[in-house]
């Protein structure tokens, strides 16, 4: 019981939804903490090449009290380059164990997550889409999708603070409120990315963090 509590506490300490550029340069490590209105997850991964990453992940569903711990692989299937823009298409999958926490008692079961992410950005504009589904055996089977648009009020140069204003719309068909709108502000500074969001439906703040080293 101590292990899931510790992992969950770690996840919450990082609270996140930062899916910007998940795959790093060859040899790079990235710490990602991601929170949406349903789950908080923490992922630390290594990119053996600029096209894929391998990592470990803990994902706590705060609404259903389900903890997933496992390994994740993310593949940058395609990157489109332009002089002033970049677009990416990623696929990812994770496999591990799921268990109920607190009121949802259950034995450990095998679980899996799969997803797709796509984004297009310039130094002033950003558009992204992601979708994921999970199979937690008897505990849960569900899917979600989210789209995001954003703009930067100024073009930050190398080493400067980069600021983005964004709006995310997500759809979780199985949720009590299937649709939610989340305005957020994103800051890039050096190797760190930080996002502060506000879920309009749930009236709660969400924090995301990513660090590359």
């Amino acid at each position: 019981m101590c292990r899931p509590v510790l992992i969950t506490a770690t996840c919450l300490a990082f609270a996140n939804n930062a899916f910007a550029r998940p795959v790093s340069y060859a040899g790079g490590w990235t710490l990602i903490e991601d929170t949406d209105r349903q789950s908080t997850s923490a992922l630390i991964h290594h990119s053996p090449s600029a096209n894929y990453l391998l990592g470990v992940k803990a994902d706590f569903d705060r609404n259903k009290d389900i903890l997933f711990t496992g390994v994740q692989a993310t593949w940058l299937a395609k990157r489109w380059f332009g002089e002033n823009h970049q677009a990416n298409l990623y696929f990812w999958g994770a496999a591990g164990l799921v268990q109920g926490v607190g009121s949802t008692y259950a034995d450990d079961e095998a679980g899996a997550q799969i997803g797709v992410m796509a984004d297009w950005e310039t130094r002033r504009l950003f558009v992204s889409y992601r979708a994921s589904a999970r199979d937690y055996a008897s505990l849960d089977k569900s899917a979600m999708q989210a789209a995001r648009v954003g703009f930067a009020p100024y073009e930050g140069d190398t080493g400067e603070l980069h600021t983005w204003f964004m709006l995310e719309v997500d759809n979780s068909p199985d949720a009590d409120e299937p649709l939610d709108v989340t305005p957020l502000i994103r800051f890039f500074y050096g190797s760190a990315l930080f996002e502060a969001e506000w879920s309009l439906n749930d009236d709660q703040s969400l924090l995301n963090f990513q660090y590359r080293f």
Partner: protein, 153 residues
């Protein structure tokens, strides 16, 4: 599990038509090569470099590390990079080139969209090696410039 795969496949199909976002990098590159079709590579000290090289006056970013490495006798190389739109891009190239023993100083200029290198005195880096290292960072070289230097702000 089948349901899981079907749901995600459906969502993947519903993604914005990313395949239509087809940055014209290759077309742009071809046009650029055409611009330099009359360039005399035979008389060029860097004739071993590929056709995309621009042996015109190169503009090096005004950074103290680059200036110091240049003063120490290193060769400057400036590459125009495609897809560099944020600090994570800059970080990736800084890390990749910063580890190399043949590089004295590196700086990615997001405004100019350039990777600025000053090699260690006596060191050489071919275009092929440069392109490979940029690719390893996750990006792509458009053109490479070598030659007399102008420092730019």
């Amino acid at each position: 599990m089948l349901r899981l795969i079907l749901i995600t496949s459906f969502m993947a199909l519903a993604t914005p038509a990313m395949a239509q976002i087809n940055p014209d990098a290759e077309r742009h590159g071809s046009a650029h090569m055409g611009d330099h079709a009359g360039h005399d590579h035979a008389a060029d000290p860097h004739a071993g470099h590929d056709m995309r090289e621009v042996d015109a006056e190169l503009k090096l970013a005004d950074q103290p590390e680059l200036a110091a490495a240049l003063a120490a006798g290193g060769e400057p190389v400036v590459a125009k990079v495609l897809g560099a739109v944020c600090d994570f891009c800059a970080k990736a190239m800084n890390k990749t080139f910063g580890k190399r023993k043949d590089v004295a100083a590196v700086y990615v200029d997001l405004d100019a969209k350039t990777l600025n290198l000053v090699l260690k005195p006596g060191a050489e880096m071919s275009d092929k090696t440069l392109r490979k290292a940029v690719k390893k960072s996750g990006y792509k070289v458009d053109t490479v410039a070598r030659g007399s230097v102008t420092i730019t702000n």
